[in-house]
Each structure stands twice: as structure tokens, then as C-alpha cells.
Amino acid sequence: MTKISQAGPAIALAGVNLALGQGAARVHILKDIDLDIGTGEAVGLVGPSGSGKSTLLMVMAGLERANTGTVAVAGEDLSGFNEDALARFRGRHVGIVFQSFHLIPTMTALENVAVPLELAGLNDAQTRAREELAAVGLGDRLHHYPAQLSGGEQQRVALARALVPNPAIVVADEPTGNLDEETGQQIIELLFAGHARRGTTLVLVTHDVALAARCARVVRLRSGRIDGVSES
């Protein structure tokens, strides 16, 4: 494991290429990506379907491994990490919010939020999860199962789960894609409030131009390449 620099950018990608599949089915998804995201910065990733924005997000979150290039996140070079080291890294440094929430259906809201803390071996997991749920307005829904919650409530639980370990980086893949406009708006407010309050680096994949505009910087992708970067 190579320590890069605590003082450098929160995410630093250099010459990243990624292809999936084999033989004729091999698809070159990310091509020569160079991108630095500063600590505490909010960046929106936009682009048409299939442009590679979700894959780029996965590479940043240590969920997908680049074929070439270097990926440094929270001061650590991920290229030398094996699968287990990446999992532990995510647990410590990265919070993830999915479009489809991906709550564990057999666990209550409280247990879902406590999962990353429990995986990290913390004793006060339940207490902290309870506080985080209260912070997203679900203090009275602690013992409900996902199936007993509305879509918005489920995404709030997912948000609490992403934020509870106080990660340095939060990545969100179209977090409002499965929600109505009003509920989506509430989630976005919570997401940005958490970002502002904790100084977390936020990377957001979205189709919504207005939402992307709330980020300090917007990176446009097309056919796996960075097509442009604009500052808000």
C-alpha cells in the first residue's frame, strides 16, 4: 500500500483506462481519465447513458479496478490493494448512495445504518446509527424494515448509512433517480447539508443539470472520456 500525501487532493486519477469483458465482447469503458478532486469539494459527473460516469464513480469508490493508470483516494494509492483491502478501505473512507437504495431487506432501518460501523468493529454502532437516523428525520422509524418505508424514507436511511462512518468521501449514483421530484429535493438538501457540515468530498452522478449545477465543479463525460469541466 502506497501512501501518497495527506495534503493532496481527496481523489486523484491519472491515465485511468478500464475495459470489461473478453474477446469480441470487450468494451473500453474509461479512456485516459485524468482528474483531481479536492478535499471537501463537490463534483457532479454528467453525460449521456453509457458514457462511463457510473463506472468512473465505481473506480473512485474502489469498487472497480482500473486496467491502467493510478487511482489515489483519501491519500492512498488503490492500485496495490487486493479485494479485501479495498473493502476495508471503503468501510473507512467512502460512503456510497445508490439510485436503488440497496438497503438490506431483512434488517431494520437502525440495523441497516449500523452495518458499516459493525463491519468496522465498533461497539457504539447502534448509538451512532440512531443519531444519524435522527439527523435525517427518521428518529421515529428506527425499527421499521425497508419494505415498511416509503422510497424517500429508504433513501434517507441509505444516506444515513453512507454518512454514519464520517467518511472522507461520499459518492452518489443518481440518488434521486427513483424518487419523485419533491422527495428527491429533500434528499439532495440532506446530502448537501451533510457535505457542508462535515466537509466531506462529494461526487455525484446525475442526469439532472440543475442538480449538477449545485456542485462546485461539473465534469462531462462522453464515450468514456472527459469531454469538459465547468466551474459553477
Partner: protein, 854 residues
């Protein structure tokens, strides 16, 4: 506070905590898993518990079964005064004599009885129960010109007698005073060819049946003195008897080994049933594997989510392994509890039918073993799919991610799977009564699994390369067989195992029933005549020819003798792999000038008719091999107290199932020159013999030759058939558990595919497929799969049946094609029906409601 700042070692219980969270909502999706392990564990625990209860019964009731603390049995002679004095010096003695005899009624009916003459001290242990009740001594006393007798109820039924009726045996007349409801030492005597008739010793002597050469066994039972009843004392008395009277030729047993042959039979049969139980577990294991795979498929998103949140692959594996172990524990405990109850059920329900001393108890070691088997089976079948969970890609959570899952788990999980399989096989082999059989079983089971995988692969290959069918339904059906995620491997495995097992059981069952039913082989004799005195042989021949002129009478000389040593090794030191009975006690011997009918010399040469050299013997090849004997080896036999050494001149293969007279050892005639002997004869009717013919002859013979014993082959086979029927019942019971497991696995496999079926059906309906066309396609698919698998099942089941019947049971195997095919067709029909039931509900789905949730 960030997670990096805190450390706490509570991660050790995390897999248990997470596994519990998933299971607390109920066992939904795991019913087949739990039922499979429960059924397998039930079979193992049940068989083990019943066998242990029986062993306990045999051990605890050793004195009663044996009739004493020690038993000395002599054949054809009573104990000498010195021998009797020795026995009396070690404890109180009771004597009894047993022999076969013919009982005749005044109406001229006759039947074979197993006569037992007892003294006043009988029984030393246990109780004789009579109906109507009364003391035995009174029932056997001489009164009104007749000796008293008590009889097995079967005898009363067979001769249509009631207490008070009279029968004649030899020269004595008996009044049957009561039915014999319980004879405490009956088990030690083994299987009798006729019903018991108990009389006094004086009465036996009055019959005139005690002649030189009569096949009478004298049993002397000892009750040890009250101040020294230890096993050590009993064993010491046995050793002293052997040392003091080395030539006595008696069979000595102590209460701790009251019935070694029965114990061996119980152990052997227990092993057979354990194998059936293991098969239930293996079949169940397939269900476990399917359930785990299907569960993990459903949980892919959850697994990916956990990994996204920081769970390592190993931790994911640990969580789901814990879950599998918890479920296996639930199934195992259910099976253990049911298995523990089985001895009580058997004792209560079958006690009156099976005359075995079952002492029901909870046998923790047997139950624990069943649990271990259950857990190991769950591991052997679950570790592979669990290992694949390690590498569930997190990319599955992102809709546009393409990340196929690897086909093989990591090497460590393959190694763990192999370790569980090896542990399971080792346990099965190490604990087996006959390890050779266990090794064959393990090998066969492994081969069947591999073959079924190959059959599935072949089917998928053929479907992939089948010519383009014109019929849409047929095309869809063929495509369903080979498409990715097809049910073919799981259905072929579960259905194939089920059919193979069903056919195996049907073949064993059918062959056993056929061989022990009254259906005799062509040219089988109707009668065996025992104890024909040499001096009466001519008169007997003439009488039988007059009574049954068309029937064929064959006679051979017969002596009783026991093997003292073979190839210089004393009989007690010989350790045969099988056929130890040859060395136990007296056996029938004969001598002949020619090769006996029904046997064939396969090694060496038969002696010339006028041979007059040193004694020679012809040995049955299979038994000689088991005893490690070769041509030219010396064999010492003791006949009427004289040791005779003969060299093995040749080996014969004997067709025992022809039921014609044959012996393990046939000597050259000069070996026993001058020795008194009786003759053994068979009588064969050209038409097989009618009951009227046989009844008339047996009645006439019993009257004219009261000392000659006539064994009606049909009655003897019926007696054995009744016992075989009980054994078949036990086999059927254990197999039913296995078949139930197979049906569950099949149902589970079909249910696992249900989600995909609904999806397919909805998409196809959306695209214009009618329900009839879909049903047609699914029916053809199940039919094709079922038919191909049934073919394999019938072939492999028949092969297994042949192996068990001919190689393990040493019986003649006749393939029974129609029951096997009927069973296979039935199984295919069940598969198609089960599959279509699932499909019907899929077809009933409204496309819109499903599409909204896709």
C-alpha cells in the same frame, strides 16, 4: 468520530449477528434445506438408535436369550459324567435337547416341529408364558397315558388343533395342554423350519428318536453362583472347560455373547440401512446446494451492498456460512429428535411383530453422529456456492455495470469443499461394519454424481446443437434446456438420483420377494428328508417310490463334523472375510464318488471312482477363498470324536439356489470308511408337487418312519419369506425417507426456477405468446429432461440393484424391467406435473403488474 479512530473486537460475533438478522423473519426459502437435512439426519439417527436399542436389549437380556450365564451345546451326544460334573461344579445346571421331528395327528396330518425337551430347572432365566396360564411342569407332566406338551400357536393353526388335542411323535403320544406364548431363550436357537413343541426330557426319551446319528442338540445352561456372577467368572469357566475337555467339541457361549450370529446380522443390516440413510443425506445435500445457490442468487444485491459498505469477501462468506450452519443445525436437531423417538415407535408399533429384544432408549452418541453427518453434508454441498459469494461483484449494484461472476470459487473454497467431502466419506467408511462395502458405496455415490453432471452437460450440448425445429414450442423447449441459467443440471441431478434410487429399491425388493416367496425354481425339490438311518434306506426308498412313483428321489450319505484346523491354522484363529458360519459348530459333511449334481469342478481334479489313497476333500470355491485355502492344503475335521485329515483335491462352484443337495465339503468315500452315518434325501415331483400330493406323502411317511424328518421346502421358504418380508419393510421404510428427500429436492429445484419462469412467461406473453404455446413448450422441456434422466436412472438403478443383490447378498439377480420402467415413468409424470403446476401460476401473472416491478 470517524471509524478509523475506534477499535473494538466485537467483530468476532458479527457473522452470527448478521446471519441471525436474516433468519429471524422465518425460514422462508429454506424449508427444503431444513427438511433435507432433517430427513437425512432422521434416517441416520433413527437407524442408529434402533440398532443401539437392539444391541442394548441383546446385551441386557443376554442371560435370558442364552438361557443361562453360560451355555454348552453338544451335537448328537449328551455330556459325559465328567463334563456334567465340571459344569455342576461351576453353578447350577439345566439341560435341554432340541431336534426336528414329525408330529402326527389322529386324522393322519403331519408336520415338522422343532422339538425342545426341557428339565425341571428350565428356564433358569426369564419366564415361560402359557395360554391358558399355568406352571410349565404341570403342562409337561405325564397324565392319562400321554405326555404333556406346549406348542407354538402356529402348530395349533397348521394342524387345526386346540389345547387338549393329541399328537404322536415317534413312539410317544402327547397331549397339547397349552399354547406357548413366550419362550424366553427362543432367539438363541435361530430360525427354525417348524413351530416349537416343548416337552419333558422323559417324553423325548420315550419317543425313541434318540438314536445314534440323530441330529439332536444337547444344551447345558449354567446359572453362576450368586456370590460370583461376573463376566470374568463366566469367561474363566469357559476357558477352563476348553482346557479341561479339548476334544469335547462343544460350542460354549457366555451371556455377553448370547447370540453372536444375530448380533452380526443386526450389525450387517444396520450398515445396509445406514447406507440408505446416507443416501437420503446425499440426496438432501443436493437440495441444500440448490437452496444455498438460489438463496445467494437472491441475496446478490445484499452481498454486493455489504461489500460496498466495507465487508470483505471472507466476511461475507463467514456470514452466509454461519447462516448455513444454523439452518443445518435446525434440520439436524429436528432429525435427531425424530430419530430418537424411532426406537420407541418401533418397540411400540412393531414389537409384537418382530420378536427382538428392543430396549428403547435415547442414544446420545448415535444422535450426535447423525448431527455431525447432517452438518458435514450441509458443508460439503454448501461450501462451493458459498465460496462464490466471496466474489460477488459490487458492480451488480450499478445498473449499467457489466461484471460477470466467475464460474469457479477461489481455490481455498474448493479445498474446503473437498475437505468436507473427504471428511464425510471417511466418517462413513470408518464407522462402517464392513468397510469394503462402505468404500464401494462412497465410490458409487461419487460416480453417480459425476455421471449425472455429465448427463446434464450432454443434454445441454445436444440441445445446443439440435437442428432447428419447425414447431415454436419445441424450439422454445430445446432452447430452455441449454440457455444460461437453465434448470437442466439441477433437475437432472435431483430427478436422476431419485429415479436411480427408486429403481434400486424396486430391484432389490422385487428380487428378495421373488426368491423367498413360494415360487420355487423349476426342478426344485418338494421335500428334504433328514436323518434316514442307513439301515432303513432301502425300505424308505421303496416306500417313497410306491407313494410317489413319478417323483425323483435323490439320496446322499451325511455325517456331522466340524473343522478343527485348515492349512495348519486352528479354526478359532482363522479370520475369514466372510462365511464365518462354516467354522461355527458342526456342519453337514458327505462323501461321493462323483461330482454332485448342481456343482462344477473349477480347480483341480475329481478323484477316480476306485480311489483308495489318503483322504481327499472337495471344497466350495468361494468359501475356500474366504478361508484362504488352496489346492493341496490339509483340512482337519472332527467326526464323531475322531480327527480326520484330508487334502483339498479340487474346488467346486455350487449353485445353491437350485435347492438340490449340496455340501461345502465333499470327501472321498474312503475318508469315513466304517463310520456310522445317516442319509439325506430330496424328492422332486415332475410337476412341482401339489399340496394334496405333498400332504398325503408327509402323513404316510410320518406314520411309517416316525424318526425320519420331512422338511417341506415350501413351508421352510415361507418361514424365511416372513422374515425377509420384515427386512424388506425396513428397507422400504428407510428408502421412503430417501425418496421423500428426492421429491423435496426436485420440488425445490423447480421452485428455484420459478422466478425466471414468471419473467420469461411475462416477456413472452407481452410479445404475443399464447398460454397454450407456453404450456406446450414447458411440458416438452420437462418431458425431454425427464425422459433422458429416467433412462439414466433406470440403467444406474438396475446396475446398483444387481451389485447389491448379486455381489453383496450373494443371491441370483433377475432384472425386473417393467416395475423399473413404471417407476421411472411415474417419476417423469410427477416432474412434468410439478413443473407445470409452477408454470400455471407463472402464466396467470398479468404482464403489467410484473413488468412494473422488473
Amino acid at each position: 468520530m470517524s471509524v478509523t479512530a475506534a477499535t473494538a473486537p466485537n467483530g468476532r460475533w458479527l457473522p452470527l449477528r448478521f446471519a441471525w438478522r436474516e433468519l429471524r423473519g422465518g425460514l422462508h426459502g429454506f424449508y427444503v434445506f431444513v427438511a433435507c437435512i432433517a430427513l437425512g439426519s432422521l434416517a441416520i439417527a433413527g437407524v442408529g438408535s434402533v440398532a443401539a436399542s437392539l444391541a442394548t436389549g441383546l446385551a441386557r437380556q443376554g442371560q435370558v436369550i442364552l438361557g443361562g450365564d453360560l451355555s454348552f451345546t453338544l451335537v448328537q451326544r449328551e455330556a459325559s459324567s465328567q463334563e456334567l460334573a465340571f459344569m455342576q461344579s461351576r453353578g447350577s445346571v439345566s439341560s435341554a435337547a432340541t431336534l426336528r421331528a414329525m408330529a402326527r395327528t389322529a386324522a393322519g396330518q403331519a408336520t415338522l416341529v422343532e422339538m425342545k425337551a426341557v428339565d425341571a430347572a428350565y428356564p433358569l432365566f426369564g419366564n415361560v408364558v402359557l395360554d391358558p396360564p399355568g406352571p410349565l411342569s404341570a403342562a409337561l407332566a405325564q397324565r392319562d397315558g400321554a405326555f404333556g406338551a406346549v406348542a407354538d400357536p402356529t402348530l395349533l393353526t397348521r394342524l387345526h388343533l386346540k389345547p387338549g388335542a393329541r399328537v404322536t411323535i415317534g413312539n410317544a403320544t402327547f397331549e397339547i395342554r397349552a399354547a406357548l406364548s413366550n419362550e424366553p431363550d427362543k432367539l438363541a436357537g435361530g430360525i427354525g423350519f417348524g413351530p416349537r413343541l416343548m416337552v419333558s426330557e422323559a417324553a423325548l426319551r420315550a419317543t425313541g428318536l434318540l438314536q445314534p446319528g440323530s441330529l439332536v442338540r444337547w444344551h447345558y445352561r449354567l446359572r453362576l453362583p450368586a456370590n460370583d456372577t461376573t463376566d470374568a467368572y463366566a469367561n474363566a469357566a469357559m476357558t477352563q472347560a476348553r482346557e479341561r475337555f479339548p476334544q469335547a467339541g462343544w460350542d460354549i457361549r457366555t451371556r455377553s455373547k448370547a447370540s453372536p450370529r444375530l448380533e452380526r446380522s443386526v450389525e450387517r443390516f444396520t450398515q445396509f440401512l445406514t447406507i440408505v440413510g446416507l443416501t437420503a443425506l446425499l440426496v438432501g445435500g443436493v437440495g441444500v446446494g440448490n437452496a444455498v445457490k438460489s438463496h445467494l442468487d437472491r441475496r446478490r444485491d445484499v452481498i454486493a451492498t455489504m461489500k460496498a459498505l466495507g465487508a470483505t469477501g471472507r466476511r461475507v462468506f463467514a456470514i452466509y456460512l454461519t447462516q448455513v450452519l444454523l439452518l443445518a443445525l435446525v434440520g439436524g436437531v429436528i432429525g435427531m429428535m425424530l430419530g430418537a423417538a424411532l426406537p420407541y415407535v418401533v418397540s411400540w408399533g412393531l414389537g409384537p411383530i418382530i420378536p427382538l429384544p428392543i430396549e428403547p432408549a435415547v442414544h446420545l452418541s448415535e444422535l450426535a453422529l447423525a448431527l455431525v453427518y447432517g452438518l458435514l453434508t450441509a458443508l460439503a454441498f454448501a461450501l462451493w456456492p458459498l465460496g462464490r459469494a466471496h466474489d460477488v461483484p459490487v458492480g451488480a449494484l450499478f445498473r449499467d455495470a457489466v461484471a460477470p461472476q466467475p464460474r469457479w470459487p477461489r481455490k481455498i473454497y474448493m479445498a474446503l469443499t473437498a475437505a468436507a467431502v473427504v471428511a464425510l466419506a471417511t466418517l462413513a467408511v470408518l464407522l462402517a461394519y464392513d468397510r469394503r462395502v462402505a468404500v464401494i458405496y462412497v465410490g458409487t455415490a461419487a460416480a453417480v454424481f459425476v455421471l449425472l453432471r455429465l448427463v446434464a452437460a450432454l443434454l445441454m450440448f445436444l440441445a445446443r446443437h439440435a437442428p432447428h425445429a419447425r414447431s415454436t414450442s419445441l424450439r422454445m423447449a430445446v432452447a430452455n434446456i441449454h440457455r444460461p441459467g437453465a434448470l437442466t443440471p439441477t433437475i437432472v441431478l435431483s430427478l436422476g438420483l431419485g429415479i436411480a434410487l427408486l429403481v434400486t429399491v424396486i430391484e432389490i425388493d422385487g428380487n428378495l420377494r421373488q426368491q423367498f416367496s413360494a415360487e420355487l425354481p423349476a426342478k426344485a425339490p418338494s421335500f428334504y428328508f433328514l436323518d434316514i438311518p442307513s439301515g432303513e434306506a432301502q425300505r424308505f426308498d421303496a416306500f417313497v417310490h410306491a407313494q410317489a412313483p413319478a417323483a425323483k428321489l435323490e439320496e446322499v450319505p451325511m455325517l456331522r463334523g466340524r473343522i478343527i484346523s485348515a492349512h495348519g491354522t486352528p479354526a478359532e484363529n482363522l479370520q475369514p472375510k466372510d462365511d464365518a458360519w462354516v467354522l461355527q459348530g458342526d456342519r453337514g459333511l458327505t462323501f461321493a464318488n462323483e461330482v454332485p449334481r448342481g456343482s462344477r469342478v473349477v480347480e483341480g481334479r475329481w478323484w477316480p471312482p476306485d480311489y483308495d489313497g489318503p483322504p481327499l476333500v472337495s471344497f466350495e470355491k468361494h468359501i475356500a477363498d474366504n478361508l484362504g485355502l488352496k489346492l493341496g492344503n490339509p483340512v482337519v475335521v472332527n467326526v464323531l470324536g475322531r480327527n480326520i485329515t484330508a487334502r483339498i483335491a479340487n474346488m467346486r462352484n455350487v449353485d445353491w439356489q437350485s435347492l438340490s443337495i449340496n455340501f461345502v465339503m465333499v470327501f472321498s468315500p474312503n475318508s469315513f470308511r466304517g463310520a456310522p452315518h445317516t442319509r439325506l434325501a430330496t424328492l422332486t415331483y415332475p410337476n412341482g408337487g401339489t399340496p394334496a400330493q405333498e400332504g398325503a406323502l408327509i402323513g404316510a411317511l410320518a406314520k411309517t418312519f416316525p424318526r425320519i424328518t420331512s422338511v417341506r421346502v415350501k413351508e421352510a421358504l415361507e418361514a424365511i419369506g416372513a422374515i425377509v418380508a420384515n427386512l424388506v419393510l425396513a428397507i422400504d421404510g428407510a428408502s421412503a425417507v430417501t425418496l421423500l428427500a428426492a421429491a423435496l429436492v426436485l420440488g425445490g429445484a423447480l421452485a428455484a426456477g420459478h422466478r425466471h419462469r414468471v419473467y420469461d412467461a411475462v416477456i413472452l406473453k407481452t410479445l404475443g405468446a399464447t398460454r397454450a404455446r407456453l404450456i406446450g413448450a414447458y411440458a416438452i422441456e420437462y418431458l425431454l429432461l425427464g425422459a433422458a434422466t429416467a433412462l439414466f436412472g433406470v440403467l444406474s438403478g438396475s446396475l446398483a440393484g444387481w451389485l447389491i443383490v448379486s455381489q453383496l447378498m450373494h443371491l441370483r439377480f433377475a432384472w425386473l424391467p417393467w416395475p423399473a420402467l413404471a417407476a421411472a415413468l411415474g417419476a417423469v409424470a410427477v416432474t412434468v406435473a410439478l413443473g407445470l403446476i409452477g408454470t400455471f401460476s407463472a402464466l396467470g401473472q398479468k404482464p403489467a403488474s410484473v413488468l412494473r416491478n422488473l
